[in-house]
């Protein structure tokens, strides 16, 4: 049989279904048949999954029968456990119908232990699993036998996996698989991405690295390299990629995108507010859409928005249509029930968050509605693809803006989708904390030779530029914590034997590794339990008996005081207090408004790409006739009262209002970068004696308010603004702020958990007593003072650059606006500034120090004493 053509029984099977094998399926079969790896980029509904499995099914069907167990042939990795289970079910049909002698099994966190043991002893032909399970498998003592004959690995939804630390972990697992089975071919399945070459590199072993990976001090690991702790920490430098030799890449197979999506802006004809994300005015129109379609997915950006939308839709649900709610805080069993009802076609709509961005194909979805700003072009395309999984028919979707700015963002997204432009993120640099976890895992699998392990690790694309010194620092960290004081050598986790090989110290450490594997660090959560009021005793509650509604973040529960009302699981709840590890709540009376916003505004920051399009749209009045009239009028008014922000520069407005002075700026870089900017700006204004009082930020701009006249300060001192927005704020000011930043501490905690410094708290595990509770904030403060170049601090900085603080993006912006700042002193607030001013009071206000809160509480004591 010529390579790449289908065997007869496969041809027959396709024919029996009324199908013909598609060209990309045959192409993939040919590439893998030649022993090469491949990336398949295809839109939803192109038969991607079958294409990925076809080479393995053909190869397995042609094997001579054997009685001996033959080891694992194909491994399939999916980002979602549910997807792995679903794919297994879908594979059963062709295997059964063609009578192929192939055994398929899944392995997830839910697989019982006896089955796991059996899977190692007598592996199936095809195993479907997740990145975390792969990490556990390669750390198993039997890993080299298990994977010795592995022929193919299929990575599904690769575009979604590679953008996170999970992708780093998976890349290291893949590198190990390539070593255990040198003839392994890897197949990546992906939606359309901006840089397919990044994914092509990811799939195959890379060649040698030239430059160090993480900026700053090497750490070396020698005891004599004790850094004096009074020395300032190395500045946060963004890692740069070294000059790369032409790297190995997998073959590329692209399926040209099927039918263009049928995409619209939902225009209700009503005037939209200038801020807010709820889109309350659009609910009747959305309800009409639900009535007119079979099944509708209503995507929103935050859980709060999901709760709100769900409530609003039910308020007007006169036909009692089955509309359900799905988000990450809901109880898992409740989510499973919703998914099952959806699969069974019992629901007309689901209001959901990113939890349903990926996953199981539901053929019946015929409309997607996206409420709020789309935030990114690729994200919106992924969501639109959830409607209708047949590629030849257009997916139908509506974008629903929540405010006038979001109209601009929706228009920019429509343009981007039409141009099929992508804004998927750049390839990641592998995270050091993930590497530390992996190194311990490799010691659990077998004794390792550091040189050999290093070569293996740099063959993984995210780690291709890792220097030997940085690798040594990681090994040193795993062994003894990597501290300048070598205090912990007696207790080392991995030990180097006289043969030069590193081994895990004992079974207990290996057990610890297994309990803590993975890169997803859930923030600590508490259950929300419905408590029952006591009849005739208002305020009194029975602590037990009610059902569990779901979970809320512990950080959020921490800020609640009894009596606070908040929106959760589709109802308004009244917080009654904490009992052990549960938050007790009662149903608030009808008509109660939730007082406390339970989740931050927009979860995803506006992508750089969409931001640029929005800026261009605003700057070019000739484009405005494509916009709804209310937006064009609004921009016109801005041009009359002030000026329009340019496509490249930065518009800064200053004006007095209500006895205070305001400064607003519009960088359009997303709320994370703006929050960081706000923190740094207020520090500088403090020094300039402008007496800043606080600031608010949204995706488009920030507003800072103060007691001194900022317009006058700018007029008096030329260069004042340029100085204020100078790039060097990312130096000392950033360092000083990071000291106190709670976001930095949260980032550090996640790195500390991934790298095994502190253990995960497992569900059901109770908080330990005060003597053992170790707050990572204390650890962070101490480490920062005494060893600022420690591996975990470097890991946290690397995350901060792109993650919660978005320092990288802020840096690019500050560079871009140099010499391009336009200032307009106004005597009243401008139309543009209104939008960000409206955030004040809606979101948390920053700049309020701990001491201000304490002073206020103290004042209450005085009142008590006097009253």
């Amino acid at each position: 049989m010529p390579e790449g053509s289908l065997p007869a029984r496969f041809e027959a099977w396709f024919a029996s279904r009324g199908w013909a094998p598609r060209p990309h399926q045959i192409e993939l079969l040919r590439i893998v048949g030649d022993g090469r790896s491949a990336l398949l980029v295809a839109p939803t509904g192109a038969g991607k999954t079958l294409a990925g499995f076809l080479p393995s099914l053909v190869a397995l069907s042609e094997r001579a029968p054997s009685r001996k167990p033959r080891g694992l042939h194909t491994l399939y990795i999916s980002p979602l456990k549910a997807l792995a289970v679903d794919i297994a079910r879908n594979l059963e049909a062709p295997i059964a119908e063609m009578g192929l002698p192939i055994r398929v099994e899944t392995r997830t966190g839910d697989t019982p232990s006896h089955k796991r043991t059996r899977q190692i002893e007598r592996p199936p032909d095809i195993l479907l699993t997740t990145p975390e399970q792969l990490a556990l498998l390669i750390a198993h003592r039997e890993a080299s036998d298990l994977f010795a004959n592995l022929s193919c690995v299929v990575l599904d939804e690769l575009h979604a996996l590679v953008t996170s630390k999970r992708g780093d972990l998976l890349s290291l697992g893949l590198a190990r698989l390539h070593r255990l089975s040198p003839n392994l071919t890897a197949i990546g399945l992906s939606a359309t991405v901006r840089e397919p070459d990044d994914l092509r590199r990811y799939l195959v072993p890379q060649t040698r690295p030239p430059s160090p990976l993480w900026g700053g001090v090497g750490g070396g690991g020698g005891a004599e390299e004790v850094a004096p702790y009074s020395e300032p920490p190395p500045p946060l430098t963004l890692p740069t990629r070294g000059r790369e030799p032409v790297p190995a890449m997998a073959d590329l197979v692209v399926v040209k995108g099927g039918a263009a999506p049928d995409l619209h802006l939902l225009d209700t004809g009503l005037t939209l507010p200038l801020a807010g994300h709820t889109a309350s005015q659009a609910m009747p129109a959305i309800y009409d859409l639900i009535q007119a379609h079979r099944t509708v997915l209503v995507f929103v950006n935050t859980r709060l928005q999901a709760e709100y939308t769900f409530q609003e839709l039910w308020r007007i649900n006169e036909a009692s249509l089955p509309i359900a709610l799905h988000h990450g805080s809901l109880d898992a069993s409740q989510r499973r029930r919703v998914e099952a009802a959806m699969a069974a076609g019992q629901l007309r709509a689901i209001v959901c968050t990113a939890t349903l961005d990926l996953g199981i194909d539901w053929g019946d979805v015929d409309l997607v509605v996206n409420i709020g700003a789309p935030k990114g072009a690729s994200r919106i395309m992924q969501r639109i693809g959830r409607a209708n999984h047949r590629m030849d028919e257009p997916s139908k979707a509506y974008l629903v803006p929540g405010n006038r700015f979001e109209i601009l963002e929706c228009q920019a997204a429509l343009d981007a989708v039409e141009a099929a432009a992508q804004d998927t993120p750049d390839a990641r640099l592998g995270a050091p904390d993930v590497l530390a976890q992996h190194v311990l895992g490799m010691a659990c699998a077998d004794a390792f030779d550091p040189l050999q392990l290093y070569d293996e690790i740099v063959s993984a694309a995210p780690y291709a530029t890792l220097s030997w010194e940085d690798f040594e620092a990681v090994v040193d960290y795993v062994a003894t914590g990597g501290y300048a004081l070598r205090a912990y050598e007696r207790f080392a986790k991995i030990l180097r034997g006289p043969d030069g090989l590193w081994r895990v110290r004992d079974a207990r450490i290996a057990q610890q590794y297994r309990m803590n594997v993975g890169t997803i660090v859930e923030s600590a959560k508490v259950k929300v339990r419905l408590a029952r009021g006591v009849r005739g005793k208002p305020g009194a509650i029975l602590p037990k008996g009610g059902r569990v509604l779901g979970e809320i973040e512990e950080d959020f529960a921490d800020t609640l005081t009894p009596g606070d009302t908040f929106l959760f699981a589709g109802e308004v709840l009244r917080f009654e207090g904490l009992s052990e590890d549960e938050a007790l709540a009662t149903r608030a009376g009808p008509g109660t408004d939730p007082a406390i916003p339970s989740y931050a505004g927009a979860k995803f920051p506006l992508s750089t790409f969409l931001a640029a399009r929005v800026r261009a749209l605003i700057a070019d009045p000739f484009e405005w006739d494509r916009l709804p009239k209310q937006v064009a009028d609004y921009l016109l008014l801005q041009r009359q009262r002030s000026i329009l922000p340019g496509p490249e520069g930065l518009l800064v407005e200053t004006f007095p209002r209500g006895g205070r002075h305001y400064l607003t700026a519009f960088p359009f870089e997303g709320r994370l970068a703006h929050q960081t900017l706000g923190m740094l700006l207020t520090r500088r204004m403090e020094r300039a004696r402008l007496r800043p009082l606080g600031f608010a930020a949204n995706d488009y701009g920030i507003a800072v308010w103060m007691t001194r006249d900022v317009s006058e300060a700018i007029a008096r001192e030329p260069g004042f603004l340029a100085e204020l927005f100078a790039q060097d704020m990312l130096g000392d000011d950033l360092e000083a702020w990071l000291d106190e930043s709670s976001m930095m501490k949260r980032t550090f905690r996640q790195c500390a958990v991934i790298a095994g410094l502190i253990e995960r708290r497992h569900p059901g595990q109770k908080k330990t007593g005060r003597q053992v509770t170790m707050s990572t904030d204390l650890v962070y403060d101490v480490l920062r003072k005494h060893q600022p170049d420690h591996l975990l601090l470097r890991a946290a900085r690397q995350d901060a650059a792109t993650g919660l603080l978005d320092v990288a993006r802020l840096g690019v912006m500050l560079r871009r606006i140099q010499g391009r700042i336009t200032h307009k002193a106004l005597d009243r607030v401008s139309p543009l500034s209104v939008s960000v001013m409206l955030e004040i009071g809606r979101e948390k206000v920053y700049g309020e120090g701990a001491d201000e809160i304490l002073a206020e509480a103290e004042a209450q004591l005085l009142e008590e004493a006097l009253g």
């Binding site: 003894t480 800020t559 406390i596 101490v782 206020e856």
Partner: protein
Amino acid sequence: MTRPFPELEDAILALGQKLERTIKTPGLTLAGEALTLDLCGGLWLAAHRTLIVSDLHLEKGSAFAARSGQFLPPYDTRETLACLHEAVARFDPACVVALGDSFHDARGPERMEPGDRAMIAALQEGRDWVWIAGNHDHAVSEGVGGRYAETLALGGLTLRHEPAPDAPNGEIAGHLHPCGKVAMRGRAVRRRCFVTDGKRLVMPAFGAYAGGLNVRNPAFDPLFPAGFTAHLLGDGRVFAIGKAMLARD
């Protein structure tokens, strides 16, 4: 003058600058004795020229490494001693009382770095130093200087590690690591604190890694049956906050 611990002195200098921002240190009276609640978490008895610190939990980091293989940064002892050095330099006490649980466990002194050990010796020079027995370090091994006591009487005050519910007025104790939490307008601030009802006083933990127990925990109820005021250690000063304003965890 030689600088035996140059790196420590730098850290102390930085701390000192931070403390300069202190507006005033509040005072209160317990059993007729005037007490100064210091922002560092120590208690200053000017009439006796005595500084009291509680629950240093030295070598807690290394205790974790020894017991569970969790490598918390081993700098907690150094950090705690630097804070203590700063307070000693400021008050120049004739006597320092460490109110129990000075070491996280009985083997703590063995694990201590030589530099840290020398630091303690330097602090003790020229002054009386009393280690009160705690539940973690009841039998502290030799080699850390000073003298040992179960309890200590000072004027009308009784100093002991674990508060006794039936103690007469004037007890100063530690052990509970009190923390107070204030939650307001979507923000929560949780800080170590002194707790007192004018009859007894429970001190905050001084150690860098010492955790905290919320003062609204029932453990405090038998000690303060008629309520209490918590004095929270803020960034710039100590804040007196009534029980009613303090949130549970």
